[in-house]
């Protein structure tokens, strides 16, 4: 019946192995994504014809230049290998729309979106956990019911409606204190004008918090009913400490899992919000690129979004394991 204790030293090697396996898996996923992204964009039809439209027949020189740039004559396999080789070297190719390297063109938008998402996460995580704790504390009493009703309603509202409502309240008739669109001077960043960030961040927070909060509350309630929480109370531990130390610690892992899902969703799903506020981010750029048939930009952005997805999930898994002693000791022994 004795269970072996975690082994101190050899644990390091076990962790290395685990991490290596997960990283390998992440790379494999990324590679599969690259195949899918490439095939999908290649299947969009002849990009040259799409770009030139009526000019396709008249502007022969431009046509030939584009065909050379896209390697239209080559087989699809060799085009894929070229493109993947570039990706690995960090070269995303050249934009069809303005002949600039894709890398420099998207770096600032990627940064803008990351900042938007991270800011939203920083606000959302404590807010969601806080709401969940208050709600769980008043389980099935008035404050809990009120909070749950509001969250349920919010979860049902599409984010563009939230955004429009926020705009209506804060930047038009009622208060007019915050800008409705993000105006960014060339070469500047959106956060140079913090006021402009408020509404986009708020919209995302409102869109995501209800989900996270409801899951964390459900987990918290389950944990609060457990024998060890009962014992902690009977031991005379004050309620706030019971909540923070005994309950929250065991509810955090499912919380991390939803947060990861939601963050990954944010990384790709900010399109609407960015468009709504003219926020110069990935979403807006992706929409523009698709509209312009700028294949290399679409490919690059898709890969980056997929990458973020994978990294977020990897980090979430790692954190979950680190925070679950049973899983953690299972790896190191």
């Amino acid at each position: 019946m004795e269970v072996a204790p975690p082994k101190g030293r050899s644990g390091g090697a076990a962790w290395g192995l685990w991490l290596a396996r997960r990283l390998g898996l992440a790379v494999l996923t990324l590679w599969l994504v690259s195949v899918v992204v490439f095939l999908a964009t290649a299947a969009l039809g002849d990009p040259v014809r799409a770009i030139l439209g009526r000019d396709y027949d008249s502007n022969v020189a431009r046509r030939q230049q584009l065909e050379a740039q896209l390697g239209v004559g080559d087989s699809i396999v060799s085009r894929y290998v070229d493109w993947l080789g570039g990706l690995v070297r960090g070269d995303f190719g050249t934009s069809l729309a303005n002949q600039l390297p894709v890398g420099t063109q998207i770096s600032s938008t990627v940064a803008n979106t990351l900042v938007l998402v991270l800011l939203s996460a920083l606000v959302m995580i404590p807010l969601a956990f806080g709401i969940a704790m208050v709600s769980a504390h008043y389980r099935r009493k008035r404050p809990d019911t009120v909070i749950q009703t509001i969250l349920l309603a919010l979860a049902g509202v599409p984010e563009f409606v939230t955004g429009i409502l926020l705009v209506a309240v804060f930047s038009t008739s009622v208060f007019n204190v915050l800008p409705a669109v993000t105006l960014v001077a060339p070469g500047a960043s959106p956060w140079d004008e913090p006021k402009g960030m408020v509404l986009p961040v708020a919209t995302l927070v409102v869109a995501v918090t209800p989900y996270v909060s409801r899951i964390v509350r459900a987990t918290l309630l389950e944990v609060l009913d457990s024998d060890y929480v009962e014992l902690a109370r009977l031991k005379g531990i004050p309620e706030p400490v019971v909540m923070r130390k005994h309950a929250l610690l065991n509810a955090i892992v499912p919380g991390i899992q939803v947060i990861a899902l939601q963050l990954a969703w944010l990384a790709g799903g900010v399109v609407l919000v960015e468009t709504l506020f003219s926020y110069p981010g990935v979403g807006k750029q992706l929409v523009d690129a698709v509209r312009n048939h700028d294949v290399p930009v679409v490919q690059a952005l898709s890969m980056i979004i997929a990458g973020v997805y994978i990294v977020v999930n990897l980090v979430a898994d790692l954190l979950s394991i680190l925070l679950t002693p049973r899983a953690r000791t299972a790896i190191s022994s």
């Binding site: 019946m1 004795e2 269970v3 072996a4 204790p5 975690p6 389980r139 009913d225 457990s226 024998d227 060890y228 929480v229 009962e230 014992l231 902690a232 109370r233 009977l234 031991k235 005379g236 531990i237 004050p238 400490v241 130390k245 005994h246 610690l249 065991n250 925070l323 679950t324 002693p325 049973r326 000791t329």
Partner: protein
Amino acid sequence: MTTTTSESEHQVRRTAGLVIEGLGVSLTGSHVDVVDDIDLVLKPGEVVGLVGESGSGKTTVGTSLLAYSRAGAEISSGKVVLEDRDVLSLPWKEVRKLRGEEIAYVPQDPASALNPSIRIGKQLVELQQLRGIGTSESRLQAARDGLTEVGLPSDDEFLRRYAHQLSGGQVQRVALAMAFLPKPKVLVLDEPTTGLDVTTQKMVLDTMAELCRTYGVSALYVTHDLAVVANIADRVAVMYAGQIAELGPRDTIFANPSHPYTRALLDSIPHLSQARALKGIPGRTPSPGRRPDGCRFNDRCAFVVDRCRTEVPALRTVAPEHEVRCHRVGEIGTWDINIGTVPDADPDRPREVILSVEGLNVFYGRKQVVHDVTFDLAKGEVVALVGESGSGKTTISRSVGGLHKEWTGSLTFEGRELARSARQRSAEDRRRMQYIFQNPYLSLNPRLTIEQIIKRPMELFGLAKGKEATDRVVELMGQVALGPQMLHYQASRLSGGERQRVAIARALAAEPDVMICDEITSALDVSVQGSIVELLEGLRLERGISMLFVTHNLALVRSIAARVEILQAGSVVESGPVATVMDTPREEYTRTLLSNSPRID
């Protein structure tokens, strides 16, 4: 000088005990009582056993002493007086301070009682740390001393463990050490030994008794098993349907039980010294709100008269310190511990071997857990496999049943060699050998109806179909004492004992010749265990079914089995007819098991 003070503190420390007066707990927002009219005194240094079937309200009383009730219920009346203070009317802050420091609690289920995310060492000192008692060194030292007191290692490595890295008995002892650390005056222990094997149970009980004696602590010990209480309690309170039915000094309760319920409970307990015809108590404990008028026990009582259905009996003193809640106390004759004893199984009975196991070695991966085990089973015979947890009982029975296939050796059924896994055996062989699992809550699909569950083997083995099958189901349900009205109940509606009966009926539906029963009563109340044993004995006599009965309860073995195999660490250390092995054990290990078993005889 200091030594003397602490010495004398240990020896002389006097507590005032605890007085419970008119305690009632009801469901929130209704007048439905979970427990009511509880009067009980815990004298200083005394251990009081609180005994009753599942659902009788023992835990509810236990946690009320700490002014705590589970969500959905609230303490509605009464007093709990500790040193002139009523715990129930103290302000919140003081109640919290009192919990742990003056009244401590050891919870029911060892597996779930410690926080899985906090290291043992930290959980042990958590309370002292929060209250700022001592320095971090003195707290750590106290934690180490506490662990040593309960017989656990106290090194850093152990303190750094999590609950999942401990065995059930270790967790329970950590919980005990944690409760004792602040040196409380009163201790509430809620079935702290459920699910532990006898050796560990004995260790936990001895530790508790020792600590209570050393520190003059009064304890309320909650359990469903009177046999456990017989060994440790000074006084016993028997609870039924939310009230105390009988209360008295231990020896009185066991020598002269005066309430029909107490007697019924005692009749369901197996003895170590002699086989008994065990009896269950028909029906089950009514839940709050469904309790009958008059005497709450009237629908299950063997002595019921008309008056019992209308008039509520009061708790009356029948002798000094002995109180009974029954109209007919004194009219129902005396009770004798030897009622129901029957001759032990005859060791010289001719045996017609049906199943034999030879040189069985079982592996999990590369690890060998069972070593060269040989035994056989005759027609209409029960053979018990006994041992501590981890001794390989279940592994052997699973290998025989074909549920585990990593084994070598030979298994013959009526002279034919059986294949290793059930899947390779013929349908006929599978039908004739049925397995019943330990946990009735896991082994039945909660969404199927009883009819569907019991019918399935008949359809599977082509024994009966349609109307005929339904008739068979009703008949089988009758045999396991379930009414036909339950035919369309879903399994989720049944109590543990009822589920286990359904599992037995399902096994019987296949018309087996051999049943393998793996700890089938260990999750159940002793009263339910009694009725299941009664049922199995009937089946054995009527149908000549053979059984391989896995258990860690030696007293139960005496009443149910003809032969016993004692296992230690995967090997048989002693085997033979039950009466021979238990009356004249040859091995030291068998003697230890016997002396660790709780007994009332």
